[in-house]
């Protein structure tokens, strides 16, 4: 047992920090810190900077253009990026589709699609959930019917994050309606510019315009866009979901969030003293900080058990539950810290992202962020589903 990072790890951390200082513009970091919605160009800019450094795909093998870092290096990188308020990397191509293509895609698919993810020619979104298939994902109904060398796709996907920016969507579709529900599903890559694809925005309670419905009406998709084998898409989908969960603990986001809470609470006044010195508020902050210290170590223990590039299995369910509880608690603290000034509110969907609001504590959109982050315990397999997964594993002999 050695709780210290190695000299090599420390050098790596310094290198990442140096890169961020040099490359991340203050204005962009400020936008992230203030929880403002990022424009498409912000993401594209940051992806390009990371790609130029070879750091855009931390867990991809080097032969596909990835950094091939181990779990500890990835952890350090994610933490430093979050603390510097770097934009998050849009995960759909890099963290979700990429690993699926690398494991199950044909060589032609790997050669064609992987470079386009890295250089930004394609912006991917995820076509998994449907109105009737949320937690019960395998109940999905979107149909793909073979017609010569095409599939014809009809149906509706929902909660498609940043789908408004995407030109490509990877979808779970039903190719065998007669089979048992997990067995008739295929994994298809669909060009969003095809005739019959329609994207409709969904406004969320924080006023954000980041999720969408995607409708497919007789959309023709070339058969070479099928990943792996027909009717075996559920296997690939589950593989992708475990990857989606690898950074689900969000330690870096929590550390950055806790810093934000303290910064606000030093500035906010309560009877002429900083709020951070108020014993009730200080106790709330301390409890979350204690939980986070332990969770960061749980995260390192679980991720370092996993072989490089592999998902940490059922332990990721625990990380998701605890990690999201802590992140949500921190968004609650930020909201509390701001007090009455959490009320001023602008809707990105209705007014754009730059509506002027009074913000004397320089806190940013804390109420919006609190409401937006309710999603953490809902998406990527709700926390109830994570408990179900873990319980089934624990009770498998019962």
């Amino acid at each position: 047992m050695d709780l210290n990072f190695t000299a090599q790890d420390d050098a790596f951390r310094a290198e990442v920090r140096g890169f961020l200082t040099e490359t991340l513009p203050d204005a962009l970091a400020d936008k992230v810190r203030r929880m403002q919605p990022l424009a498409k160009d912000d993401y594209i800019f940051w992806h390009a900077k990371l790609n130029a450094r070879g750091w855009l795909a931390p867990d991809w093998p080097k032969r596909f253009g990835g950094a091939e870092w181990n779990a500890v290096e990835r952890h350090i990188f994610e933490e430093e990026c979050a603390l510097a308020h770097a934009p998050r990397v849009v995960p759909f191509g890099l963290a979700m589709l990429g690993p699926v293509l690398q494991k199950f895609g044909s060589e032609a698919q790997q050669d064609h699609w992987l470079p386009r993810i890295l250089d930004g020619r394609d912006w991917w979104c995820q076509g998994y959930s449907e109105p009737g298939a949320g937690s019960d994902l395998a109940a999905l109904k979107t149909r793909a019917v073979r017609d010569g060398d095409h599939y014809v796709v009809t149906g509706q996907k929902t909660w498609t994050t940043l789908g408004q920016h995407a030109n490509m969507i990877f979808c779970l579709v039903r190719t065998d309606p007669g089979a048992k529900k997990q067995e008739g599903i295929s994994f298809l890559l669909i060009d969003m510019e095809s005739p019959g694809v329609e994207v409709r925005p969904i406004t969320l309670i924080d006023g954000s315009a980041e999720v969408n419905e995607v409708w497919f009406t007789d959309v023709r998709v070339p058969v070479e866009n099928l990943v792996g084998k027909e009717n075996e898409g559920w296997t690939y989908a589950k593989y992708l979901l475990t990857h989606e969960r690898t950074n689900i603990a969000g330690v870096g986001f929590s550390r950055a969030g806790l810093e934000t809470v303290k910064r606000i609470a030093r500035r906010a006044q309560s009877r002429g003293r900083p709020l951070l010195e108020n014993p009730h508020f200080a106790a709330r902050v301390a409890q979350v900080e204690i939980d986070l210290m332990a969770m960061a170590t749980t995260n390192l223990r679980i991720v370092s058990q996993a072989a490089a590039g592999q998902a940490p299995g059922v332990g990721s369910s625990l990380l998701k539950i605890k990690g999201t509880q802590i992140r949500q608690e921190i968004t609650d603290l930020a909201r509390r810290a701001v007090g009455p000034h959490a009320m001023p509110f602008a809707s990105e969907a209705l007014e754009g992202s730059n509506a002027p609001l009074p913000d004397p504590l320089d806190a940013g959109a804390v109420a919006g962020s609190y409401f937006n982050n309710r999603k953490l315990s809902i998406f990527g397999g709700s926390n109830e589903i994570q408990r179900e997964i873990y319980a089934k594993h624990l009770m498998r002999d019962a």
Partner: protein, 341 residues
């Protein structure tokens, strides 16, 4: 003991529930016509209510409905201060006049006695913050410190020189404004106003708690419907124990909240320390129960509970943001400790 509403209050509740369900246009004038605004004020001032239980009935119904007409900020709170100063509120009751109260300041956080705005002669200078309903007010009441350090209340015309309003939307719905006063002419309303401010704020806090209780009822009803109709894995999701048991916990919190509001309503006319102890107890409980109900009802709905289009999310926001007005959960815990020490 009797926990039944009187016949008059039962009628008030029925009238208001039917009216709010009709999705009314020009809601303010119609509420005045129906006597809803009058129900906030006592008989000697031209109203026919004003007791804690009148406020509880009116605002619980407003909370249940998907409307917030602004009765607390444009009628109840400033209206009570007018009455405390010996002025009449007939224009408010008839719906012709909307008042506003500009009291809160940045450094005050939730403390009612923290006022830095100064009165110099009959001119006011200072910054008031997050003044809800300020843009709708025909007349503003502004708090300020006079030379001897006492807090006084002043009447200010919205178009008075040196006064600026910077308005914006607020997360729970409705609007607020930053109110800036720079050597702004004002008319003295009352001296040594802190006890009156505390009394009016106690009534406003009770009203807001009743509103939150109503919003919690609707959020829970929407969730019960959803748990019964939404199917995943071939069955209604409410048949899963993991959700059903948590839903029962919400019902328990709802009943706790209802009792806390009843206790606060019954002590609104009590001596200030007794009154404030019950208000603080209830506001602390509502803060905790409200957070649980808002978060759990969203969680039980899943993504649909986070959409602006579906009503649940709007109710969850009102419940949550109620903690940012009239003192939050921690503020009232501290008040309660101080009052019971």
């Amino acid at each position: 003991m009797n926990f039944e509403l009187t016949e008059e209050r039962q009628m008030l509740q029925d009238t208001l529930r039917r009216f709010l369900a009709s999705d009314p246009a020009d809601i303010w004038a119609q509420m005045a016509g129906l006597g809803i605004i009058g129900a906030l004020f006592p008989e000697q001032s031209g109203g026919f209510g004003g007791a804690g239980f009148d406020l509880a009935v009116v605002f619980e119904e407003i909370g249940r409905a998907d409307h917030d007409p602004g009765l607390i900020d444009n009628a109840l709170l400033p209206g009570m201060l007018m009455l405390a100063a010996g002025r009449d509120v007939e224009g408010v009751i008839s719906g012709e006049v909307k008042l506003g109260l500009a009291h809160a300041e940045l450094a005050a956080r939730y403390d009612l006695d923290w006022v830095e705005t100064r009165a110099d002669g009959d001119r006011l200078t200072g910054e008031k913050t997050v003044v809800v309903g300020a843009e709708d007010a025909n007349l503003l009441i502004v708090s300020a410190r006079v030379a001897d350090g006492e807090i006084s209340l002043w009447l200010v015309q919205p178009d008075a020189p040196g006064l600026t309003l910077n308005g914006y939307g607020i997360a729970q719905g409705g609007r607020a404004a930053e109110v800036s006063l720079n050597d702004t002419p004002a008319e003295l309303l009352m001296d040594s106003a802190l006890p009156a401010i505390r009394q009016a704020m106690a009534a406003a806090t009770l009203a807001q708690m009743a509103e939150t209780l109503g919003a919690m009822e609707t959020a829970i009803e929407l969730t019960r419907d959803y748990l019964g109709t939404r199917k995943q894995f071939g069955r209604p999701i409410g048949s899963f124990q993991a959700l059903a048991h948590r839903f029962v916990d919400l019902m328990a919190e709802l009943e706790q909240a209802r009792s806390a509001v009843i206790l606060a309503a019954g002590h609104l006319e009590a001596e200030p320390p007794v009154r404030d102890l019950h208000i603080s107890a209830a506001k602390n409980l509502l803060g905790r129960a409200g957070r649980l109900v808002a978060e759990e009802t969203i969680q039980m709905h899943g993504g649909i509970g986070m959409t602006e289009e579906y009503a649940l999310g709007r109710f969850a926001k009102r419940i949550t943001m109620a903690d940012h007005r009239f003192g939050d959960t921690d503020h009232h815990l501290e008040q309660f400790i101080a009052l019971t020490a």
